[in-house]
């Protein structure tokens, strides 16, 4: 007979009313061992997780900017994602029953990590079918977009003892967005926006926009 594990006494300090509810549901549902070494990590289901800033960014990219400047879009994306992380995503990430304060040092470390991740990400994109010898700069920019869209999740991975498993779905959602958007590439409409990597970038944004709020439900 295995010894029954005593669950940790619940903390009374709570930031929102529904949080305790969710946590107990999770604990009951999955029978997660909760102790000092395995604190629960999850993302709350609040409106805070919705990355609203992506929509005006996309709108600007598609409607206002001329000839779809992906590099410029990247320049806008990085600060906005940082703000989203500080004010929205971090506030809905629960680590060990509490929400951690933003760690500015880590913010920069994970920014650098995202930048480094662009290289394996680029290799992955090429592996998934991007041209091998041509358009490398464009492929890198696409990788950069993907990595900085995943930046809040990367930060949280660093912040939460490298619990990659919990944040994997965020990466997958961005990849899924990219994958679906590939459909428009073979069409022979010869539009400007069919240029590599514009549709995939848009797909990645949509994937992130849907993924960030939806993943806390999965």
């Amino acid at each position: 007979m295995p010894v029954k594990r005593r669950s940790m006494p619940k903390k009374t300090v709570s930031f929102s009313d529904d949080e305790t509810l969710i946590r107990t549901r999770q604990l009951n549902g999955k029978k997660m061992p909760v102790d000092h070494y395995n604190p629960p990590v999850y993302v709350r289901k609040t409106l805070l997780t919705v990355p609203f800033h992506l929509l005006p960014l996309l709108y600007h990219f598609i409607k206002c900017s001329d000839n779809y400047d992906v590099a410029k879009l990247l320049c806008f994306l990085i600060p906005l994602q940082s703000l989203y992380l500080i004010f929205q995503f971090n506030r809905s990430t629960v680590y060990g029953n509490k929400i951690l304060k933003i760690h500015f040092g880590l913010l920069f470390i994970s920014l650098a990590a995202s930048l480094l991740l662009t290289l394996p990400c680029m290799a992955m994109i090429i592996l998934l079918g991007a041209p091998m010898t041509q358009l490398l700069k464009e492929t890198w920019i696409l990788a950069a977009h993907c990595c900085f869209l995943a930046y809040p999740a990367v930060y949280s991975v660093f912040n939460c003892d490298f619990k990659v498993g919990i944040f994997k779905k965020y990466f997958v959602s961005i990849a899924l967005g990219c994958w679906i958007s590939c459909v428009v590439l073979p069409l022979d409409w010869d539009r400007d926006w069919q240029e590599w990597p514009i549709p995939i970038v848009v797909g990645a944004y949509l994937g992130a926009f849907v993924g960030y709020p939806a993943c806390s439900y999965i």
Partner: protein, 809 residues
């Protein structure tokens, strides 16, 4: 379930063939010979502008071969063009751009029937005969002119022998011969040019240039010499004819840069056309020719040099120049430049005659228009309209075929759902089928079908990787292999990458042959049994295969590393005792036959061993490796290392399947189907007739060949990777303790379901889009490919071959 499924498969094939028979009907043509339409009495007494015609067809002579500086070596023609003795045109040849339909177009002036492209391959067919149909040849014949013909025997298939006083046909399908095929035509020239009273029309059709294209592409190093040879022939003819003879040099179609043709790309449809006569110098050159010096140095990416005309415009032009009635079914419009050869009244009569004739084909009313330029533009409109509506469909056959197919699909869907239940696999199968099915409604998705297969493949690999996180390395390896497959060749119409692995290996001979040797031995010797017999037999097969492939490369002027050349020379000397100069090309056919005999012997021996010593273990693997070496044999050399990639890939996939999905046959068969298609496209094939590869269709075939052998070899060559994948999964599918037939039928059902449902959508899109601009260039070829996939891959390989193997197991 088994018997019912077999009946369904047979019925489905019948349904598809019925549909195709209705969809590709023979075109209705007007019978009888044409008469002059406009003022016939006056026209009969008009004098012809030329008395004699020399008509030289150079197969696949693209416009830039005649006019462009880097591509062309026709220096004598350039000289004539520059001093106005020749008028040059780029002639648009209607797709399908293969010889037989194009000859029909050039002689009758009608637009081709799509079926002609297929019949071009089936030599014995008599339905494409032009005996009864009106053509300018028939008009010459009716008006008692004497004709002689030398060259491609397609002409002799089209026209009855009584048209000609003297013929000598050369065979158009033995592609590896560049020299003899043309010398056989040219050797008649001195005699014919010496006795010009004997003929009024001399027709020559040269095939060598097309053969060079098929073998080495448009930029082959054999090309300049061939151009110079053709140029010297034109010079020879020109110097011995007089002012009253018209020399007409033309290509029946063009070629793309790979040297293939059949499709509708700019290169394939832009044929060159030159009229040569001293008489032309007296008149003004065509406008586009006036201010340019030939050869033209700038490149035109649409291959439009000088004036662009329709190739069929040749027909009324020739008829007018020789004062003959315009053939009845012609929809050509007389070339405006030639009107200056006539007096003002005569030119009006000729235009009006052409106009009335066109209106009669269109079955419309001739409006009274007096302005000649207005008539010319009206004729162009009628021509464009007629060219579009080329065929009449047989709606009853279409309806029967389609209804039967729908019925079969309903039954198949029901039994598939009953077998698989509602699981993720069913969803995946249904999803894949629906994605492909809906894609048939978009012409670009049909052209870029390989992208869809690739998209589905990486989706499935990704999903499998996420659900089995501890197998990341194996999934990564699978992905790397797949990426190699994708990067090997270009497919589709939209993207063209210069740095494919195929091109890389083509330029690095040593590397290519190291990999080829490795692949041939690795694949052939990948047997499950490790005894003396199986090792020796697979070693012999592999060596024969390697020597033949290497020898083929020598004969066709592709480079070969020194070490291999020595081996080839030694082995050829074994076969050929007397040391003749041409040892390589003479041993080619015997070597291929030896290989085929050896492989079949080994295959039968393996089956016998299995039957009498009941060695069940590894039966499918052994058979698969023997068949693989035949497949490699039928593959062009720079594609051979792909089989090594396949080998690694199938190893990893089968490991993953056995470890994680072993109870799920449907997913294995779905993967099998996806890889069949993906590898088919990444072998360089597309959904266009142009990429049908003929290079390996003549292995071991001598001059007096059998069309069915060539057809079978062609199918094996083009579907080699698909056959590999189709038979690969039987290695892991059949285990000795299960009922083999129930496994067989259960495994066949998902693929059959795909073919049925996909077929319903494809046939529907063909009917709905039958007036679409791309119906002949995109949708109809796709339908042909679909029929081939069903009959050859699903029917012959999937059911007959695999069924036989299962029966013997």
């Amino acid at each position: 379930m088994g018997k019912r499924l077999i009946v369904l498969v047979v019925l489905q094939l019948i349904a598809i063939f019925t549909f195709s028979a209705g969809f590709f009907p023979q075109k209705s043509v007007m019978q009888g010979d044409a008469q002059f339409w406009y003022l016939p009495d006056e026209q009969i007494h008009m004098a012809p502008k030329f008395d004699k015609l020399v008509f030289v067809v150079i197969d696949a002579l693209r416009a830039d071969f005649l006019f462009q500086k880097e591509a062309s070596n026709f220096h004598f023609v350039h000289e004539l063009l520059n001093n106005g003795k020749a008028w040059g045109y780029t002639a648009y040849s209607n797709p399908p751009t293969v010889t037989l339909p194009r000859l029909k177009g050039i002689t009758t002036g009608s637009t081709p029937n799509f079926l002609d492209a297929i019949l071009n391959v089936a030599e014995d067919d008599s339905s494409s005969n032009l005996k009864e149909q009106d053509s300018w040849l028939r008009q010459f014949h009716v008006h008692n002119k004497h004709m002689k013909f030398f060259g491609d025997d397609t002409w002799l298939k089209l026209f009855p022998h009584e048209f000609f006083d003297e013929v000598d046909g050369t065979n158009s399908f033995f592609v590896s011969d560049f020299e003899q095929v043309d010398l056989n035509v040219t050797r008649h020239l001195p005699k014919q040019l010496g006795n010009q009273d004997e003929w009024d029309v001399l027709i020559l059709h040269y095939l060598g240039l097309d053969h060079i294209g098929h073998k080495g592409g448009a930029k082959s190093h054999f090309m300049p010499a061939k151009h110079r040879e053709m140029d010297s022939i034109i010079k020879e003819i020109y110097s011995s004819i007089d002012e009253s003879t018209l020399l007409c040099v033309m290509g029946d179609h063009g070629m793309n840069d790979l040297g293939n043709h059949g499709g509708s790309s700019a290169g394939e449809t832009s044929a060159g056309l030159v009229f040569i006569s001293e008489k032309l110098e007296k008149y003004e050159k065509p406008i586009a020719q006036r201010n340019v010096v030939l050869p033209i140095s700038e490149l035109n990416e649409n291959y439009e040099y000088l004036t662009k005309i329709q190739q069929i415009d040749l027909v009324p032009t020739l008829a007018s120049l020789f004062n003959l009635p315009i053939p009845k079914n012609s929809i050509g419009v007389i070339i405006a430049d030639f009107l200056q050869l006539f007096s003002k009244d005569a030119s009006k009569i000729k235009i009006m005659d052409n106009y009335h004739q066109l209106v009669s084909v269109a079955q419309g009313y001739s409006e009274q228009i007096d302005d000649l330029t207005a008539i010319m533009s009206r004729m162009k409109d009628i021509q464009a309209k007629l060219a579009q509506s080329a065929t009449n469909y047989d709606y009853s056959l279409i309806a029967i075929g389609y209804a039967v197919l729908i019925g079969i699909t309903v039954i198949t869907t029901a039994s598939t759902l009953r077998l698989l239940r509602l699981t993720y696999t069913t969803a995946l199968l249904l999803g894949t089928t629906m994605i492909l099915s809906f894609s048939t409604f978009g012409s670009s998705f049909v052209e870029e079908e390989h992208q869809l297969w690739w998209w589905i493949t990486i989706g499935i690999v990704g999903a499998s990787c996420i659900s089995n996180p501890n197998e990341i390395l194996n999934h990564l390896l699978v992905l790397v292999c797949l990426r190699f497959v994708r990067g090997w060749n270009n497919s589709g119409q939209k993207y063209f990458f210069e740095h494919t692995i195929y091109e890389l290996l083509k330029t690095h001979n040593n590397l290519q042959w190291v990999f080829n040797t490795l692949t041939i031995f690795a694949v052939s010797c990948n047997t499950a049994t490790h005894d003396y017999f199986s090792f020796t037999s697979s070693f012999v097969l592999a060596s024969l295969c390697l020597v033949y492939k290497a020898n083929w490369s020598i004969v066709n002027g592709e480079g070969l590393p020194k070490w291999l050349e020595i081996i080839v020379f030694k082995s050829c000397s074994l076969l050929q005792e007397d040391e003749s100069s041409d040892i390589y090309s003479e041993t080619l056919v015997p070597l291929a036959r030896l290989f085929f005999q050896a492989s079949i012997t080994v295959l039968i021996a393996r089956i016998l061993v299995h039957k009498y010593f009941s060695k069940k273990v590894g039966f499918f693997q052994d058979v698969h490796s023997i068949i693989s070496s035949i497949l490699i044999f039928q593959t062009s050399s720079a594609n051979i290392p792909l089989f090594l990639v396949f080998q690694i890939l199938s190893g990893r996939l089968h490991y993953l399947w056995t470890a994680y999905y072993s109870s799920n046959q449907a997913i294995l068969m779905l993967l099998n189907l996806i890889l069949q298609h993906l590898s088919f496209f990444q072998f360089g094939s597309t959904n266009s007739i142009a990429t049908v590869n003929l290079t390996n269709a003549y292995n071991g075939v001598s001059d007096d060949y059998n069309i069915y052998t060539v057809g079978l070899l062609m199918c094996i060559g083009n579907f080699a990777p698909s056959i590999y994948w189709s038979l690969a999964s039987s290695k892991v599918l059949y285990k000795s303790n299960t009922d083999k037939w129930s496994v067989f039928y259960r495994a066949k059902l998902p693929q059959f379901f795909f073919y049925c449902l996909f077929g319903c959508f494809l046939l529907a899109s063909c009917i709905i889009l039958r007036y679409h601009l791309f119906i002949w260039s995109v949708f109809s070829p796709k339908l042909c490919y679909y029929v081939t996939w069903n009959a050859f891959m699903n029917g012959l390989i999937g059911w007959v071959v695999e069924g036989l193997l299962v029966a013997l197991y």
